[in-house]
Structures are given as structure tokens and as C-alpha cells.
């Protein structure tokens, strides 16, 4: 079963969506807009890492994706607490 090329194409498409989300990260009018864009980029990067680990046959990249998911969750919670404390 040679399906690795399909995984590679799907990962390339998701990287394109990361660049689309970066538009909101740069142009967001308020700070929560940028935080939401960062959260979306983190989710897309986790999915891309799992797909790339499958495409190249490296299971280590999937482990990196697990750690990345947990660390990005902690970063999102930290930004949310910072916003709650009052920004202006």
C-alpha cells in the first residue's frame, strides 16, 4: 500500500492553511484575534506533524506533535489569563 504520497500532499495543503491563518495573525485588530490565530496555527501544526511523520516513516515526529500540543495548550491558557487580568 503506497499511500505516503497522499499524506505528503495533505500536509502541504495544511501548511498552506497555516500561511492563510498567518494573515489574521498579522492583521488582527485586537489582541484576542491574534491569540485565536495562534491557537489555530498550533492545531494545524500538530496535524501537519502527524501527517509528515507518517509520510516520511518517522514515528518520532508524532511524539514531537504530542509534546507540541500540550505545550501550545499551556501557552494558550497563559495568554488567556493575561487577557483576563486586563490589557488596557
Amino acid at each position: 500500500m503506497i499511500a505516503e504520497f497522499g499524506f505528503l500532499v495533505a500536509a502541504a495543503v495544511l501548511v498552506g492553511y497555516v500561511f492563510v491563518s498567518m494573515g489574521r495573525l498579522m492583521a488582527g485588530p485586537t489582541t484576542p484575534d491574534r491569540a485565536v490565530a495562534l491557537d489555530t496555527i498550533n492545531t494545524l501544526v500538530v496535524a501537519t506533524m502527524v501527517l509528515l511523520g507518517t509520510a516520511f516513516g518517522q514515528v518520532v515526529l508524532v511524539d514531537v506533535a504530542i509534546v507540541y500540543a500540550l505545550l501550545s495548550f499551556i501557552a494558550t491558557l497563559y495568554i488567556a489569563r493575561y487577557l483576563e487580568g486586563g490589557l488596557r
Partner: protein
């Protein structure tokens, strides 16, 4: 079997794209949280499910390890993504960002 994997990957890519374009097109922080988080979570379920099925079908030590670890990544993603966006929405509301065009705001009345 390969067609089924490609179908799962296509569904995942389409829903992730809907999430990214919701982030660009929606007018408000809260609608952006809604669209982006829901669509990327749903699309990532299908993308990682394709990896899990590929690993289980491939079998052996490497395929089994790949499937279990991808399933673990999907589990953590499903727990952390809605929680993070919920905290982000609450933080945005407390920071003073109001919904565009909202007629009533019960959370503000309660606080």
C-alpha cells in the same frame, strides 16, 4: 482501502481549510473562535484518523507504534483545543472586547 484513506485526508483538508477561511472572513473575535476552533478540531480528527487506520493496516511493530501514538496525539488535541478556546473567549470578554452587532449580552449583565 487506499481510496478510503484518501477520502479521510480530503475531508480533513477541506474542514481545516474552512477553519482557516473562517478566521479570515468572520467579523468578530467570538465568531472567529467559533469557526476556527470547531472546523480545525473536526478536520484534525479526520486527518489523524487516516494516520491511525494506515498504521493499523500496515501492522507490525512500526505501524502499531505509529497508530497508538497518533491516537494519543488526537486524544490530547481533543481535550486541549476546546478548553483553550473557552479560556480565550472568557479572557477576551473580560479584556473588554464586545461582540459586533450583539443585541443582548447576558454575561455582562451577570458580572
Amino acid at each position: 482501502m487506499k481510496v478510503f484513506l484518501y477520502l479521510l485526508l480530503a475531508i480533513g483538508a477541506i474542514f481545516n481549510g474552512l477553519g482557516a477561511f473562517a478566521l479570515i472572513r468572520f467579523p468578530d473575535v467570538y465568531t472567529r473562535i467559533h469557526g476556527a476552533t470547531k472546523c480545525t478540531t473536526f478536520g484534525s480528527i479526520f486527518s489523524i484518523l487516516a494516520v491511525v487506520i494506515y498504521g493499523f493496516v500496515k501492522g507490525g511493530g512500526e505501524g502499531g507504534t505509529l497508530a497508538i501514538h497518533a491516537l494519543l496525539a488526537l486524544f490530547f488535541l481533543l481535550i486541549t483545543n476546546p478548553t483553550g478556546s473557552h479560556a480565550l473567549a472568557r479572557g477576551a470578554h473580560r479584556a473588554g472586547v464586545r461582540p459586533v452587532g450583539a443585541v443582548v449580552d447576558r454575561l455582562e449583565e451577570k458580572e
